[in-house]
Amino acid sequence: MKNVRILLLLVVAAVVAVSTGLWADANSLPDRDLASEEATIEYDSDFDKMMAVLTHKRCVNCHPSDNYPRQGEDSHIHRFGVQRGDDNHGIAALRCETCHQHDNNNYSGVPGAPEWSLAPPSMAWQGLSRVEIAQSMLNPENNGGRNLEEIVEHLTEHELVLWAWEPGIDADGNEREKPPVPKDEYIAAVKSWAANGAIIPEQ
């Protein structure tokens, strides 16, 4: 009888332990609905959604305010002191095209897209606020003489811009971070923002 009691106690203890997760470890936690736990960022406006992309490192790394491209997730100055050059494609024997071609190279981890280059100095965004970037973007003196339609086209169709959502892997095989807004949502936000007057909010 004593043995039966002990066995009963052990069974009860086991049931309690399992039900309270005492035996669970990191690898045996029940599957969670991770997708539902990921915070979906809510943006107040099309402008906010657009600027969340345009201020992301995948864009700003090539819109520096000096003559050195940035690279990596920490936006460090491009290795080897790579420089802008007169045409924003590098200098005499160290061109962007020396290493970057028209698509990502997953063997070397070197990113690539058509017209890989820096944005001209007039389109420097590094260090600017969202409002300042938008003002500069709409200013024909800074934006290469583009009107609003052409700005939208550049922002939503240019292969180098859209590369941000296909940034490939680095030399260690790690995927580069994408902008925080899905591409289709970003494109819709840019078009909606423009269609509604391309209003830049107060500072």
Binding site: A92, L94, E97, T98, C99, Q101, S108
Partner: protein, 155 residues
């Protein structure tokens, strides 16, 4: 994928996966071993060649982009048996130590001299960013200036 190009003045056609690094086509298919594999991530420059006269890191250059292009490797730098001024200068200054990285440096230098015939030290520092683990940079700098002299004398 069939890809045709000119390499060191010779027409070539290869049938390979278009994503294959041009470096491997040059070394393994065309048996031109002068171009070296260093880091494999377009950082060290040992694999530097010329594509249409521009310095290119061939480890990071998919062969599909080479179609119709004019490619030069270190073997093609010689002109009708005469050493290129860069090669001549490298000999005169006894630049190489182990030598592994030198073809890449020479190709980068040859490309530089086409754009800047009389490079300053600053030009050299900015443009020639290859890596030499033996540390032959001092001799290379002298050789680059000497190569400019030879080239400008010939032209």
């Amino acid at each position: 994928m069939q890809i045709s190009f000119t390499i060191n003045g010779q027409a070539q056609s290869v049938d390979v996966d278009g994503q294959t690094p041009l470096l491997w086509v040059i070394r393994d298919l065309l048996d031109l071993k002068g171009t070296k594999f260093g880091c494999g991530k377009a950082a060290c420059g040992a694999c530097t060649i010329h594509v249409d006269g521009e310095a290119v890191r061939s480890c990071s250059y998919a062969v599909k982009f080479a179609g119709g292009k004019d490619i030069t490797t270190i073997e093609g730098l010689v002109d009708n048996g005469a050493l290129h001024p860069v090669q001549q200068a490298w000999k005169e200054e006894v630049v190489p130590q182990c030598g592994y990285c030198q073809p890449g440096f020479m190709m980068a230098t040859a490309a530089l001299l086409e754009k800047i015939p009389q490079p300053t030290d600053e030009d050299i520092d900015a443009n020639i960013v290859n890596v030499c683990r033996c540390g032959t940079y001092y001799r290379m700098r002298k050789a680059i200036h000497r190569a400019a002299e030879i080239k400008n004398t010939l032209s």
